[in-house]
């Protein structure tokens, strides 16, 4: 028993472990500030989710990423089934069907479908040579990614659905897809914009229009955009201090414990706090790439890259939307936003990364 523990700990990539825990702790502190007046005790709930995430983290590391890759087909099918289930029977909250109730826990399958799709793509791409069948591979990838993305978009969860696109692009890029196919994708994507526009719900269209021109809807969608920008900006260099943000505490910014959590950080911890957070995120990305470079297993490389891409895209869109650099799409900030499914899924993803590092020498 005693000899197992050191063996398990051997080869753990500690910086990633520390960083994820530090980020979650920062998140819980911010969630407390965002929600202590309104009730709901989100900080304690997030703490419980954090402990659960840690368990998943350790379990993932001890099982090893290879088993997950080998079973990726099953995970993929299960998450697709869950997404369908959510669409048909899901618990509706604020007009969207995203949750499945497991006892008193609300589980959001879209969070897990991201990772399942990354696992699936990594496994699929590594089995195919980039020297041939490029066209067929591209079509297969589009179908594999399109299916969960459309189901998530149907919920409707535009933000989570968007994540799938950069993840797929990054992974096929690394796999060795020829540049002309990216040009082709770009052109067809642009050409189908008008069609995609009609797939969106009216309120989603409004949010995108507001991003282009904030004066369109001063009392609706752009109210949020303006108020969150005021929140972040008013934090200045040093911030107003923990629990002192007026924009947050007076409910000017909606959803500030979930999607708009960064406006709390920006307001209460200022530019220095925000940059500190960005640095932590940047370090995580750097470490993720270090892990990619460390392993010789191509499947693992694809997997780690997909996770890094999903992660950085979410950071960019989430922080970007609070300062008007990205349209408002409901996406959580990894490790920081309140939300159990997202936190557990993030720990699962980074558990996979750590396990890739740990098992790099096994051939």
């Amino acid at each position: 028993m005693i000899s197992i523990v050191p063996r398990f700990l051997k080869g753990i990539y500690w910086p990633v472990v520390f960083l994820t825990i530090l980020l979650t702790a920062l998140g819980i502190i911010t969630i407390y500030s965002a929600s202590f007046r309104g009730g709901g005790d989100y900080a304690s709930k997030q703490l419980i989710w954090f402990l659960m995430g840690l368990c998943i983290f350790l379990m993932t590391i001890s099982v090893g990423y290879r088993s997950f890759l080998n079973l990726s087909y099953i995970f993929y099918v299960i998450t697709i089934a869950l997404l369908l289930w959510v669409l048909i029977l899901g618990e509706a909250r604020s007009g969207a069907q995203r949750w499945i109730m497991l006892g008193s826990f609300a589980v959001q399958p879209s969070e897990f479908s991201k990772i399942a799709t990354i696992l699936m793509l990594a496994n699929f791409l590594s089995n195919r040579s980039a020297l041939q069948h490029q066209k067929r591979t591209l079509i297969a990838c589009l179908i594999l990614v399109g299916l969960p993305a459309i189901l998530v978009l149907k919920q409707p969860d535009l933000g989570s659905a968007l994540v799938f696109t950069p993840v797929m692009l990054a992974m096929i890029f690394l796999w060795g897809m020829k540049i002309r196919y990216f040009i082709f994708l770009f052109l067809t994507g642009t050409a189908s914009m008008p069609f995609l526009w009609h797939v969106l719900k009216p309120y989603q269209q409004k949010r995108l229009l507001v991003f282009i021109n904030p004066s369109i809807d001063p009392i609706g969608a752009s109210y949020t955009a303006i108020q969150s920008k005021i929140a972040v900006g008013s934090g200045g260099l040093l911030g107003k201090g923990w629990l002192q943000g007026t924009q947050t505490q007076l409910d000017f910014v909606p959803e500030h414990h979930t999607d708009f959590i960064f406006s709390v950080i920006g307001e209460e911890f200022g530019f220095l706090g925000a940059i500190f957070l960005l640095l932590l995120f940047g370090l995580l990305i750097v470490y993720a790439f270090r892990i990619v470079n460390h392993t010789t297993d191509f499947r693992a490389r694809l997997l780690a890259l997909g996770i890094a891409m999903a992660f950085s895209f979410q950071i960019f869109v989430n922080i970007g939307m609070t300062i008007g650099m990205a349209p408002i799409t409901g996406l959580p900030l990894p490790f920081i936003s309140y939300g159990g499914s997202a936190l557990v899924a993030n720990f699962f993803a980074f558990g996979l990364l750590v396990s890739i590092y740990k098992e790099r020498s096994i051939f």
């Binding site: 690394l174 972040v232 900006g233 200045g236 007076l250 307001e267 960019f316 300062i323 650099m325």
Partner: protein, 575 residues
């Protein structure tokens, strides 16, 4: 090598995303930080929702059935409100202090959204509040619209009413359309056409001072008023029809055969829809909902009853269409019917027997034995198939949801009742008993089709063109069949032995069929379905009285008065 290069590119891409964010944050927080700090300190922007006026509902000649009237509503913004003002405010509003406290605490999660304290206060009270406003921070009066139904019970079942959305609905509906205190159509036209009637709410962005008083209008989006809806109903007609059936449980339907529009859909007992929209009438609301008489049920569209003899029309259509009989086929009625010499007799309502009768006479006198014979020849399957073809057992395609009813056959009985179908059930089905359930609207459809050779078979309710209901398949019935039925129905009223003779009119020829449907325990239901003038039908009508004992007597007499009232209103002094 290529992989390494691509990896490098991806890493640079992701990190530069973060750098761009950093630059953006520097711009927002450091360079423009002072500006935003000031904005947040002066952030006293309040959002006031401007509710869109709900569209009116009018009858065919433009009389208002549902409209909105101005009402003074008292609001408070919780964040600006000073709890020390509660005693004062409680006195002014004549509202208990804990009520005020409760309402304000309810909106704790959106403390800048105004909460409604009291709705529809008198003008005097509104003036008093205005006078005391300097002492009451965060309290203000806004003129809102309140739904009102000026004609009370008239057309109430059709038009329906609105209600406040529930917490569950708020959680599931689009919050940009339905705010947390919104009204929503609860029944009838108000419910089905809610999105059309409600329009789109606007809003006002106000800057307020430290006491919560508005100082500047920052932005405004005008509400888009809901659209009006014009119905085919004639409320004047209905207002005169209602007294005929007051204190009864009944339904009267009048259909304009020229336009296919429903003129009246009376259902009694009725209710006053204002009860649902007027604050302070909640006890009346509860007694309406709990009443054993079920006043909220629209008996004309959703009441389901056995049709009795009026269903013989369907049996006749099936028999004529399948060639089972011709109008001249005769059967002997000794007052009863037996399958074999030893089986039990099924009685005719006239125990002495009608003698040898053809189809016309059988309809005229509503001879059961004739239709027992026809039913036996047809069989349960063909009979049920024809009933379904004529729209029974399924919803009538209509602007409002309607009851579907039940057409039984052997298969249904096996699947649902797990029992065998008996021969005796076939012949009772033929006279409209058995498990059969129909709504007055379904019978109206049949009568209208008979009157117009199948031209009018789908009643409508909304005049406006934008409403298109799914057109149903036309009944595939030969004109000769309809003609034979019209002849029989004429005799029902015109003959001195006809069951509907009490409805005979002195100004024109009315054709009809009566029904007295057994529904033990209790008295029989009274049906009467007819049309007039016989030669060029203008009107089809159904009179149904729950437990009315006799179709020919109870409903027939009412039907006659209905025809007279219609004549009064629509053909003044043609003589």
């Amino acid at each position: 090598m290529k992989t390494a290069l691509r990896l490098k590119a991806l890493q640079i891409g992701m990190l530069s995303g973060l750098i761009i964010l950093g630059v953006g944050l520097f711009e927002t927080q450091v360079i423009r930080g002072g500006h935003y700090r000031k904005a947040s300190e002066q952030n006293r922007i309040r959002l006031i929702r401007l509710e869109a006026p709900r569209g009116n509902i009018l009858d065919r000649s433009g009389n208002l059935i549902a409209t909105s009237r101005p009402a003074y509503n008292v609001y408070a913004i919780p964040e600006d409100f000073d709890p020390r003002d509660i005693p004062n405010l409680s006195q002014l509003l004549d509202l208990p202090e804990n009520q005020i406290r409760f309402r304000i605490s309810q909106a704790r999660f959106a403390s800048f959204t105004p909460v409604l304290l009291k709705q529809d206060v008198s003008k005097e009270m509104a003036m008093q509040i205005e006078e005391h406003r300097p002492d009451l921070a965060g309290v203000f009066i806004q003129i809102g619209m309140i739904r009102t139904y000026p004609q009370g019970e008239v057309a109430a079942h059709i038009v329906g009413y609105i209600g406040k959305i529930s917490r569950e609905e708020f959680a599931t509906l689009d919050p940009s359309v339905y705010h947390y205190d919104a009204w929503i159509g609860r029944s009838g036209i108000e419910r089905v056409f809610d999105s059309y009637l409600r329009g789109e709410d606007g809003g006002r962005q106000l800057e307020v001072n430290a006491r919560g008083a508005p100082i500047r209008l920052l932005g405004e989006v005008d509400p888009r008023p809901g659209s009006d809806l014009h119905l085919t109903l004639d409320t004047k007609l209905e207002a005169r029809l209602r007294p005929l059936v007051v204190n009864k449980r009944s339904a009267v339907l009048v259909l304009d055969l020229k336009s296919g529009g429903l003129l009246a859909a009376v259902s009694t007992p009725g209710f006053d829809p204002n009860v649902f929209v007027t604050p302070g009438r909640s006890s009346e609301r509860l007694s309406l909902i709990g009443s054993k008489e079920r006043p909220l049920l629209d008996r004309s569209l959703n009441g389901l009853y056995p049709p009795g003899s009026i269903f013989k029309l369907v049996t006749a259509v099936a028999a004529l269409e399948t060639g089972t009989i011709t109008p001249h086929t005769t059967f002997e009625c000794p007052g009863y019917f037996r399958f074999g010499p030893k089986s039990r007799p099924f009685k005719c309502w006239f125990s002495e027997g009608h003698g040898r009768v053809d189809l016309y006479t059988a309809l005229e006198r509503s001879c059961n034995v004739y239709f027992y014979n026809v039913g036996r020849l047809l069989g349960e399957k063909r009979l049920a198939d024809y009933a379904r073809k004529l729209g029974f057992g399924s919803q009538v395609p209509f602007e409002l949801p309607t009851a579907d009813g039940l057409v039984p056959d052997a298969e249904w009985k096996k699947n649902i009742r797990h029992d065998k179908w008996y021969q005796g059930e076939t012949i009772t089905l033929a006279i409209g008993q058995s498990y059969l359930l129909v709504s007055p609207l379904q019978i109206l459809r049949l009568v209208a089709a008979i009157a117009t050779d199948g031209r009018v078979f789908q009643p409508k309710l909304v005049k406006d063109d934008f409403v298109s209901i799914k057109a149903d398949k036309k009944f595939s019935v030969r004109p000769e069949t309809f003609k034979a039925l019209r002849q029989g129905m004429l005799q029902v009223v015109a003959s001195d032995k006809g069951t509907g003779q009490l409805a005979r009119l002195n100004f024109t020829k009315l054709a009809a069929k009566t029904g007295t449907a057994q529904a033990p325990p209790g008295e029989a239901h009274a049906w009467f379905g007819g049309f007039f003038p016989y030669d060029d039908p203008e009107i089809a009508m159904i009179v149904f009285v729950e437990r009315g004992k006799s179709g020919g007597i109870t409903s027939g007499q009412i039907a006659k008065k209905v025809a007279h009232i219609y004549h009064d209103l629509y053909s003044p002094a043609v003589s």
